[in-house]
Symmetry: D2
Subunit: 145 residues, 4 copies
Amino acid sequence: MTSHQPIMTLEELRAFFDREFPQIHEGGRTYHIEAIGPLSATMRMDYHDRHLRPGGTISGPAMMGLADLALYAAILAQIGPVALTVTTNLNFNFMRKPDQRALIAECRLLKLGRRLAVGEVSIFSEGSSDIVCHATGTYSIPDRR
Amino acid sequence: MTSHQPIMTLEELRAFFDREFPQIHEGGRTYHIEAIGPLSATMRMDYHDRHLRPGGTISGPAMMGLADLALYAAILAQIGPVALTVTTNLNFNFMRKPDQRALIAECRLLKLGRRLAVGEVSIFSEGSSDIVCHATGTYSIPDRR
Amino acid sequence: MTSHQPIMTLEELRAFFDREFPQIHEGGRTYHIEAIGPLSATMRMDYHDRHLRPGGTISGPAMMGLADLALYAAILAQIGPVALTVTTNLNFNFMRKPDQRALIAECRLLKLGRRLAVGEVSIFSEGSSDIVCHATGTYSIPDRR
Amino acid sequence: MTSHQPIMTLEELRAFFDREFPQIHEGGRTYHIEAIGPLSATMRMDYHDRHLRPGGTISGPAMMGLADLALYAAILAQIGPVALTVTTNLNFNFMRKPDQRALIAECRLLKLGRRLAVGEVSIFSEGSSDIVCHATGTYSIPDRR
C-alpha cells in the first residue's frame, strides 16, 4: 500500500500555484501554502483589506476561496501538477465569526481515487482552536494516459 | 398569507449592497443586481480580469461569491436591510466550464422562515441555458425586536 | 444535440428497480416511479407506518431515501440500466414538516456527463406546493466499454 | 467556559432514543449508541438484512440514517432530551463501498450554539480505518423558555 507521501515538494507546489493562480496574489501576496504532508496541507490567508467587509470582518467568499485552494494544494501535492483537476462540489458550514487576524486552513484528504478526490478543510483564526468554517469538497481528476 | 413581494425597491437594495459590500467593487463595478421579485433575484457578474484564471476561465471562487451575493439579495429584498443576516451553509455543484462572458445568477428562495432562509441559485453564462454552477444556501436571520 | 428523451420505458425502469432495490418494498410497496421524461422523474412515497416517527411525522431518512431513489430513476431512465452507477454526494435541506400524507419527489437532472450526473429533487406533501425537502446529488457513472 | 461534558448518561440517551425512534428497531435492534463524550458520540449499525441491497452491500439510505442518528445522539447528549431539535441540513460524501459487516459512526460536534448545532460524522466498516461515508449536518435547536 502506498505511503501517501506527497510527490511534489513544497517549493514545487508553491511555484505551480503561482503559475496557475496568479490572480490570487493581486493586490499583494496573502495566500501561503505553509506545509504539505501525507494526504494533508496547511494554507494561510493573511488578514488583508481586500478580504474584508466594512468593520473588518473577513468575508465569506474569502474563506471559500481559501478552502478551495487548500484542498487543491493537498490533492496536487499527492498526484502532481495535474492542471485540469477541477472542483465539482464544495459544501461549507460557517460557524463562527472569524477574528480580525490571519486564517489557517488545515486540509485532510478523505479519499484519493483514480477519478475523484474528496477532502475536508477546517479554517481557524490564527492562534485559536475554534473552527470558523468547515468545508468538504470533491475534485475530478482527469484521465491521464 | 403574504404575497411575498419584496419590501425593498431595487434602488434601495443596490444602495444597501454598495454600503455593506464595497469591497466587491474593488477594481471596478462588476456585480449588478439586475432584478428582484417575489422570493427571487437576478444578479449579473461581468466578465472581468480579476475574476479570471490564466487562459481566461472564470474562477470557482468568483462564482461562489456571486451565488452568495445573489442569495443575500433575494433574502434582503424580502426582509429588509437586516445587516446581521449571515450565511450558515452553502453547497455548490460545479457542472460546466463557464464561457468567457458575463455570468447570470438566478436565485429562488425555497423557504423564508423566522430564523432561517434557504434558497437556490442557478448560474448561467449570459445567453446560454446550460447551468454552469448550482448552489443552495442557508442564512440565519437574527432576532429582531 | 440529443433530445434527452429517456431510453428506458417506465415499465422497464420499474422492473429494474424491483430487481435492484427489493428491500425498499419490505413491509409493503410504498415507493412508486410515477413518471419519467427528458432529464426528469417523479416518484411517490406512500404515507406508511414504517416511514414514520411517533406522532406520525415522516422521518428524515425516509425522505432522504426517496430523494436518492428519485435521482437514480431519472439518471437510469437516461442512460439505461447501468447497475454500477453509484451515489457520490447528496446534500439535503429540510425546510418544512411534511404533512401526514404521501410525498411526491420531482427530480430534474442538471447535468448528465460521461462520468458524473448531477440532479436536484424537490419533495412535496401530496397536494401541496410548499417544498418539504430539497436535495442535490451527484452520481458516478462507471466506464462502459 | 463549559467543559462540554454530556448532560445525559448513556442509559438516559438510549432510553430517549427508544421512545423517540422506535421505528429504527423494526425488524430487530440494529442501531446502538456505543459511547458519548464531550461533543462526541459513537454509534454502531449492525450488518442486517434490511439495510442491504441485493448482493449484500449496505444501502446508502441506511448509512444516511445512521449518520443522522449519530449526530442527533451527540447533540442531545450535550443539551438534554430536547425532542423538537430537528435536522435542517445534511451533506454526504460516499467514498468507499462498505464491507459486509457492521458500520461504526464517529460523530464530532463542530459547533454547539444557542440556535444551531453543527457536527460531522465519519462512518467506517468495523475494524477498518478507511472512511466509507463522511457527513456534516446542521440541527436547529428550538427556543427553550
